[in-house]
Structures are given as C-alpha cells and as structure tokens.
C-alpha cells in the first residue's frame, strides 16, 4: 500500500518539478514549485515525520512561495525574455548533467541494495518503524541540547540577513543619502 502511494507521489512530484522547468509562464512555474513543496511534505508524512512535513508546508508553501508570487506579480513578468545565443546550449548541458547525476544516484542505490544482505534491509525497515513514535519531543530536545549551537547561530544568520536586506533595500537620493520615512512624513 505504502509503495503504491509512494510511487504515485513520486510521479506527481516529478510532474510538478518538470512543470517548474518547462512552464513558460512564471506564475505557473511558481505554482508548480508550490506543488513540489507540498509533495515533499507528503513524502515526509509517508516517512511519519509529521512535524517536518507541516513545517515544510508552513515555511515553503505558506511563506516563501507566496513572496515569490508576490514579487512575480509586482514585476508583472508576462513576456518571456528571449534567451541569448550563448545560453541556448546550457539547456542541453544542464539536462545532461542532471541525467548523469540521476544515473549515478540510481547506480548507488543499485550497488547499495545489491551489497546488502536481507537482515540488514530488515534492520533498516525496523529502524523506520521504530520512528513511528511522536518525534517532536525527540526533535526539540536534540535541538536545544546537542544541536543548540547551530540553532542559535541561525538567529545570527537571520540578523545578518535583515541587516543586509535593509542596506540593499533602503531608498537613496541621487547623492546616496538615505531617505528616512520620518522625514517624509514630518
């Protein structure tokens, strides 16, 4: 049963991913990306990681992609820009590289399953089943003990990102002096 769901989901995910690449309309591309995100969340659910799945939807589908759409609509990118000649071949090379990567992965999986004995595979499956317990407590405990440093560093990263965004987005007059909102209003 799970296998059927998995393969169906796999097909839908790949379909959406192709939609991202092949759609000429940027809005439809972005919507396909939303579809990919939701399918990934479904994949997490299949692995019984509810927390990660819903965080995936909240963060990517709920926040980031909405901003994407917002920007696309503000720019109103309806016309497709023409590709310069020197970029035309990138499609081919990119596709070739992607396929190569895919086959290396497939080969790796093949080697892995071929080299694994039955008990080891059973152990992996038992491992997956053992994760059936609620993971949030485990996750949060890990996050504030063993992984506390990266967790805290993330806040530093966000601070840097905010500073950077402010520097880059601040409006300036011709001489480079910043325009303060307060000046404008008062």
């Amino acid at each position: 049963m799970e296998l059927i769901i998995y393969y169906t989901l796999f097909a839908i995910t790949v379909g959406f991913a192709l939609g991202v690449l092949l759609n000429k309309n940027t809005v439809k591309s972005a919507m396909s990306l939303v579809g990919v995100m939701i399918c990934l969340a479904a994949n997490f659910l299949l692995m019984r990681q509810e927390f990660v799945a819903f965080i995936q939807i909240i963060v990517y589908a709920g926040a980031i992609m909405v901003l994407f759409l917002f920007v696309i609509m503000l720019l109103n990118l309806r016309e497709r820009e023409t590709t310069p000649w020197y970029l035309r071949s990138t499609r081919f090379w990119g596709g070739a590289l992607g396929l190569t990567f895919f086959f290396v992965m497939a080969w790796g999986l093949q080697v892995f399953s071929a080299g694994t004995t039955e008990p080891a595979m059973a152990a992996v499956q038992a491992d997956l089943a053992a994760r059936n317990t609620p993971e949030i407590t485990v996750l949060s405990t890990k996050m504030i003990t063993h992984y506390i440093v990266p967790f805290l560093l993330t806040s530093v990263l966000l601070l840097v990102a905010v500073i950077g965004a402010i520097v880059m987005a601040r409006r300036q007059d011709e001489d480079g002096n910043e325009i303060l909102v307060e000046d404008e209003v008062a």
Binding site: F112, A120, D127, V160
Partner: protein, 530 residues
C-alpha cells in the same frame, strides 16, 4: 521523571568560558549596531571603526589567552580548536581588522551606511572563526552562510556604483547556488552516516556500519558518502574560487570595494580551507573514499593552477589580476589538500599523524603567508589609488618609492620561487611542494613549479612597470583620478600605512623564521598566556 530532572535534561552542556571568543564578537557586533542607532550626528559615528576594531582585537586576545580547551571537543561537541583553526581564526581577525582600518575613508567618501558596514565586517570575522573552529557540518554551513551573506552585502554596499551592484549580484547568485550544492552534500553525508558531527562520522566510517535507532546496524553506502563529498567539495570550490568554479572572482574583485576584496581574498579562504581540512581528516581514514577524492581534488588543483596563472597573464586590471592570482594560489593549497587525502593510503599509525600534522602546518603557513601578501598588495593599491588599469603603475618608483618598494616585495613574495631573500611566499611554496614530492605526487609538483614560473611573468611585469618604465602623463592622471575618487582621511591612511609596514615586516620575518608561527600555536596550546 521529576520536573527538576526534566528541566536538567534540557540544559545544554556548554561552558561559558569556552565560547568566550564567540560571545565577545557577538557583543561587539551588536554594540556596533546599537552605537549606530543611538548616534545622531556623523561625528559620533566616526567612533564606529574603533568599536569594531576593538571587538576584533579583543577576540584575538581571547583566542590567544586560550579559554577554549585545546584539541578537545567543546560546546556540545560542536567545536574543536586545533592549531590550524586557532591560527586561522587569528589571521581572519587580522584581515578583517585591516578592512576596518581601511574603512573610514571608503565610508566617508562613498557615503556608505557606516553602522552596517562595520557590523558586517565583524560578522564576516564571526562567521569565518565559527567555520574554522567547527566540528559539525550544520554549524559550519550556517557559519559559512553568515560570512557569505555579509560579504555579498559588503560587496554591493556602495549602491551608487553600478559595478559594485553587478558584482554583488553575481556573487550572490553564484554563492547561493554553491550553498545549495554544499547543503545537498551535507545531506548525503548525513543520510549515509546518520550524524553531522565530524568525529562521529569518522567513527562510523571506521566501523563501516551505521547504528540505527532500534539498536541494529546497517551497512554503509560508499556511493552516498562519495557523492556527498563531491557535492560539498563543489560548493566549497565556489567559495574558494577554485577553477573551474572561479568565474565570479574577477568580476567581484573588480567591482567590490577594496576592504571587502581583502576579506574575500583572505578571510573566506582561510575559513573554507580550515573546514575542508577538518572534513577531509574525518573522511580520509576510509581508504575507499581516499581513492576517489584524490582524483577529484587533484583535478581541481591542477586546473586552478594552470587556468589561474594563464588567466592572470592577460589581465590589464590590477584587481582582476589579483583575482586570477588568487585562483592559482588556492590551487597550490588544494594540492596539499589532495596530499592530505591520499596520505592514509601510504602511511599508518604515528607516522601518519605526524605527516598529517606537517601538511596541515604547511597549508596554514601558506594561508597566513598568502593573507599577508595579498593584504599588502591590495592595501598599497588602495593607498595609491591603483586599483584600476595597470598602466597607472608606470614609473611609480619616481613618484612614490616607498609604495613601489612595498608592492615589489608583495609581488616577489607572491611569485615565491627562487628569489632571495627568502620571503613567506617562498617558504610556503617550498613546504607545499616538498610535501607533494615526498608523497609521490612529483608530476603535479612539477606542474606547480612550472605554473609558478609562468606566474613570475605577470607578477614581475608589474614590478617592471613600476621600476623600469618611464612615468607618463597618462599614468599620473590615471592614478590621480583614482585617488580623487577614493580620497581618504589622513588618520585612516596613516593606520593603513602602519598595517602595510607590518605586513612587509611579516613577509620577511616569516620568510626567515617560518617556525615562529607555530611558536604562537604552541604558546596557546601550553596555556602559556593564560
């Protein structure tokens, strides 16, 4: 479980003194921000570089005093301070300090928001130090992002310059792309080994199997680890500007302001190399990995050495030339990295440990040397306004003999081979090539020597331009123009001059006594300064 025990289970095992350098930096960075927000007038903002500078100096002091346990894991097994990372961190701090010193002139002339400028410099140093010290891949990745984001913004902080904006954009897009590769690689390694801590990865690789949650064990998948490392290495190559992932470097060097270029050229490379050395040390004990990775790293090193040097030959812009030169110089260091990977296949036991230590020391010596040399070259170019076309350097010796001499010293040192007196560049290359030859990579070492000879053409071409060409009207105008554009305050100038003088001194000091660098490391290790 009682409530108290429950609470205690949630308290992370971190000793505040161990993370003192990090705390100092963070407090300093936030002080910069608050100071900027609180000061109304421009006059009080002039104190900002002093806040940032003293933060960096205080961090160096706290690193030297050695609050951190030496060569032991600390802060929830997230960090490890060994010779490489401590020396690297100190060098990162010094490079950022140079950027702070050069800052005021840039800020006042180009009308740059000073609070953000200095804060971001401190964050570059913070990210670099965290990355160099980290023993955990997630921490390293986030630290790398802290550093990179700060550098992207600093590159484009002069928003009136379209070149700077272009550079920042290219840097950002390619950097973000590289980060994606990096994090995918980390994901693969995590998937194969079920951990992101380097010492645990090493342990898993030693056992050859992964422990599972339910107490069982699964066989290790070599492909996952190799693909993971390859992706991670590709990401790091972008950050290190190793060919063939170096395309952004010339444009970014040219477009960015020189204080930022100093940091891109030095701090980010030191941090990335420290991380690579730690990762490689964790992975390399596994012979299957070593075989494949040797080719990968060797290929990148080879391409970098050749492409970087050939590319630099045809440049007429000083900063672009420095960019290609950095590609080549990083290529030499990647050569040593490759030797490090290949070592476990050739040696064993105590011999192996000693050899690894020797190679790491050679890399760190070269890194410090490269930092000093490029800081000197870029700093002098900044002082005389020679960041543009190299025709401006014609007959510089007649106008400004001291600057010309300093630049010549930097160039000789960058060439490295076969010129007396021994400079840090010479000693660094000597050790690197020696290690390569010692462990049977003679062909690559020979290529490295040949490319170094090629590099002499363009480095010495600049020396010839400065010393043996007639000064022309045009050259003077060119420099004067640049100088007008980047005119700077006297105090900042004076401090930069002092910094340049100490760089020159360091080039010779470390050239004659390369071991003095490791005396510092030994002093920290012994807790001498505590």
């Amino acid at each position: 479980m009682t409530t108290l025990a429950l609470i205690q289970a949630y308290v992370p095992n971190i000793h505040p003194a161990h993370i003192m350098p990090f705390l100092v930096m963070l407090v300093g960075a936030i002080l910069c921000l608050i100071f900027d927000a609180m000061s109304d007038k421009q006059g009080s903002r002039d104190l900002l570089p002093w806040v940032a500078g003293s933060t960096l100096v205080a961090t160096i002091m706290s690193l030297l005093i050695g609050f951190m346990p030496y060569n032991r894991l600390f802060a929830e097994e997230t960090f490890r301070a060994d010779t490489f990372s401590v020396l690297g961190s100190i060098t990162i701090m010094l490079a950022c300090l140079l950027a702070v010193i050069m800052g005021p002139a840039l800020v006042s002339r180009r009308n740059i928001p000073s609070g953000e400028f200095y804060t971001l410099i401190v964050f570059v140093a913070f990210g670099g130090m965290t990355m160099a010290l980290s023993n955990e891949l997630l921490t390293a990745f986030i630290a790398l992002e802290i550093m990179s984001l700060s550098l992207y913004v600093l590159t484009g902080i002069d928003r009136r310059s379209s070149r700077a904006s272009e550079a920042a954009f290219k840097y950002f897009i390619l950097g973000a792309f590289a980060s994606a590769f990096l994090v995918l690689g980390i994901g693969f390694i995590f998937g194969a080994t079920h951990t992101t801590h380097l010492h645990e990865i090493a342990a898993v690789l030693g056992e050859g199997s992964v422990d599972l949650v339910n107490g069982g064990a699964a066989a290790l998948n070599p492909i996952w680890i190799f693909v993971g490392f390859a992706l991670l290495f590709v990401g790091m190559c972008f950050k290190l500007s190793l060919a063939p992932f170096h395309m952004w470097a010339p444009d970014v060097y040219e477009g960015a302001n020189t204080p930022t270029v100093v940091m891109i050229a030095t701090s980010s490379k030191i941090a990335a190399f420290a991380l690579m050395v730690h990762i490689v040390a964790a992975l390399a004990r596994w012979d299957l990995f070593a075989e494949g990775a040797t080719y990968l790293v060797g290929f990148v090193a080879l391409v970098s050495m050749i492409w970087g040097n050939l590319g630099a030959l045809v440049q007429s812009n000083f900063k672009r030339m420095m960019a290609y030169s950095s590609v080549a110089q990083t290529g030499y260091m990647a050569l040593a990295l490759m030797v490090l990977i290949a070592l476990p296949g050739q040696l064993e036991g105590a011999k192996l440990a000693a050899a690894e230590e020797a190679i790491k020391n050679a890399i760190v010596l070269y890194l410090v040397g490269y930092t000093v040399m490029s800081a000197l070259a870029l700093g002098i170019a900044w002082l005389i306004g020679g960041e543009g076309h190299m025709a401006g350097y014609r007959g510089l010796v007649f106008r400004n003999p001291i600057a010309a001499t300093g630049m010549a010293v930097a160039m000789f040192s960058l060439v490295g081979i076969g010129f007396t007196p021994p400079t840090i560049g010479f000693m660094g290359k000597f050790y690197l090539f020696k290690e390569a030859v010692q462990y049977n990579f003679t062909a690559l070492a020979a290529i490295a020597v040949v490319t170094s000879v090629i590099s002499a053409f363009y480095y010495l071409n600049l020396v010839v331009t400065m010393f043996m060409r007639e000064e022309t009207e045009e050259a003077g105008v060119r420099l004067a123009c640049m100088r007008e554009q980047t005119f700077r305050l006297a105090s900042s100038d004076a401090l930069t001059r002092v910094a340049m003088a100490s760089c020159t001194a360091l080039i010779f000091l470390l050239g004659f006594f390369p071991n003095s660098l490791f005396l510092i490391a030994d002093a920290i290790k012994e807790g001498f300064l505590r």
